[in-house]
Symmetry: C2
Subunit: 347 residues, 2 copies
């Protein structure tokens, strides 16, 4: 395990992505996203992805030099075709354009199709909240499904996340959740580690509860959010598919076999309804009120959504990011293969 300054990891990721045929500014964006995932504590979405990116570029699943095209546009809306470029580049373009439109017309809605994986979805509404806007992102996954409809056994839905950020006087509030009970990655981690999973995550191929993570990959399914009330997560997941995939034409579920994300990005300017100061005061008062609730036994502190990630980010920005030896070896090998110099300067 070695510890690196974020800037070092950023430079390596950027140069590798550029060497895969990406324009310089787009490579910066993708690298920023990967390092941002480490900063937020989501190492599974960090530089470990670079080898997969190389494979997907070679297989034509992502088109590094693609440019985003606007297919339809009104003063408040647009439909973007990403032409299978980097999801991070396309989603940021959608957010930027939504902010521009919401700044002029109070609200905006941007729809996105033909978009490779956008990575950590919470990043996008945060971009808007950091500029004083509320943002809601509905992100379907199409081409691969793990979640079955409520009461059913055969997968028809991806983990279909919802990410919503609301500006505050401190860091924005960020709700960034899958509409499945957990992300599929947690089941995969348990499987690779030879561990059982809690009951309530997965059904086997016959639709019976199981604690064996391998059952998911043997005809099983991931349950929707909600436990006994899983019809609620199922309902939200359908909404994500229709807002993200049907409005945009990206496609829903495995009705398309191309793997990617369809998005709806909604941006709202709070100043359409009240002054910025008043809104921030209300958010501030409410979050203090939430945190003043007495914790349960064994709980140190009541936290707000986004707060754990924000704390990890502060400590990792200061102390550096730990990368395990296997991942580091893989990344340096990839760099060597692509002729990218690695400035090995651990934090």
């Amino acid at each position: 395990m070695q510890r690196f300054r974020p800037a070092i990891l950023h430079a390596i990721a950027r140069d590798i992505i550029a060497a895969l045929g990406t324009r310089a500014d787009d490579a910066e964006l993708v690298a920023e996203h990967l390092v941002g995932a480490h900063l937020a504590g989501h190492d599974s979405h960090g530089i470990i992805r670079l080898a997969q990116y190389r494979d997907h570029v070679r297989a034509g699943k992502v088109v590094p030099a693609a440019t985003v095209e606007t297919l339809r546009e009104t003063s408040t809306t647009a439909l973007l075709d990403g032409h299978w470029g980097w999801g991070q580049v396309i989603a940021k373009r959608a957010v930027d354009l939504a902010i521009e439109k919401a700044a002029a017309h109070s609200i905006a809605a941007l729809s996105v199709r033909n978009c490779y994986h956008v990575g950590r979805v919470g990043v996008y509404p945060l971009m808007a909240a950091e500029r004083g806007f509320i943002a809601q992102v509905w992100c379907n996954g199409h081409g691969v499904c793990r979640v079955a409809p409520w009461g059913a056994t055969e997968p028809r839905l991806a983990t279909n996340p919802i990410a919503i950020a609301i500006p505050g006087r401190g860091a924005p509030l960020l709700v960034d959740i899958t509409t499945s009970v957990v992300a599929e990655g947690k089941v995969r981690v348990a499987k690779n580690a030879g561990k059982r999973i809690p009951e309530g995550w997965v059904l086997d191929a016959r639709g019976e509860p199981t604690t064996d993570p391998a059952d998911l990959y043997d005809g099983g399914s991931l349950l929707p959010l909600g436990g006994r009330e899983g019809h609620k997560g199922y309902g939200l997941s359908i909404v994500v598919d229709l807002l993200g995939g049907a409005l945009s034409g990206a496609g829903c579920g495995t009705l398309t076999d191309r793997v990617g994300n369809g998005l709806l990005v909604q941006v709202t300017d709070p100043r359409a309804f009240t002054s910025e100061d008043e809104f921030l005061d209300r958010v501030d008062e409410f979050t203090r009120y939430l945190k003043s609730s007495k914790p349960r036994a064994g709980v140190a502190e009541v936290l707000l959504p986004g707060e754990p990630e924000h704390r990890v980010a502060a400590s990792r920005a200061r102390d550096g990011i730990e990368i395990d030896a296997t991942t580091w070896k893989q990344v340096t090998a990839l760099a060597a293969e692509l002729g990218v110099a690695v400035d090995v300067d651990p934090a």
Copy 2:
């Protein structure tokens, strides 16, 4: 138990509400809402509420003759002050205005404050979906809280529902869910019936799981949606409070002691992104695909969100609505008290 034609119940409810000092057209709306709750199978939101409405009118909690005021307005947004009129009247006004704005500018967002209970929230996005629009309603409850923050013991949030409707070739899809694990009413029903509740609904005053519904009313709290992943329901509930209560200035949690609902109504015209036919085809294809998943053992059929209510409505519209003797006696006594003629003509 007696069975009544919906029109009979509508006339009684309308005349009682009018006799409480409500304008004729507003009384029609409130009555339509109450009968609609019966039609959807939610009898707890039906004419059983009339006695409570009388009490709340007399206590000044609702102002029957109030008119809705527009405090701020842009081409795409508005902030409405309901002046504590009937929630059903105010929320419908917000939806109608949002549809009008979205028809002209593709999308709209309406914020509502000083609003008495809106009743069954799903009704409002349905109004938009039946006219071809997508609608998302974020409805906070303020003045009374039952849900504690995740990891905490003291209530800070109401059951804060989210209701989203999406047009389809058949009945619209309707997701209408509380962000608490269940509605508080279900706990109250169990308490009144002397029954236990499932573990995972309620924590007692010390923050420990309980199956005694009385614990909720003895310093306990209702859990957020999500079971072991209750931080997700907690996050969504916060979003509802801020979108419904902070944008509008209605107030969040018990930071105000006046009981009511704060709303954000977002309406989107799918035609901003694709043709109406293409959108409806995509929704139709996706819903058929969901329903084609093999049911689990013991499940007759895979259902869509909103489908059960839609079926109940069809059968009750045909066969009449059953009202228990106690409720009927209460309603007829109220009618007599207010000088309202009851045309007793059971179905």
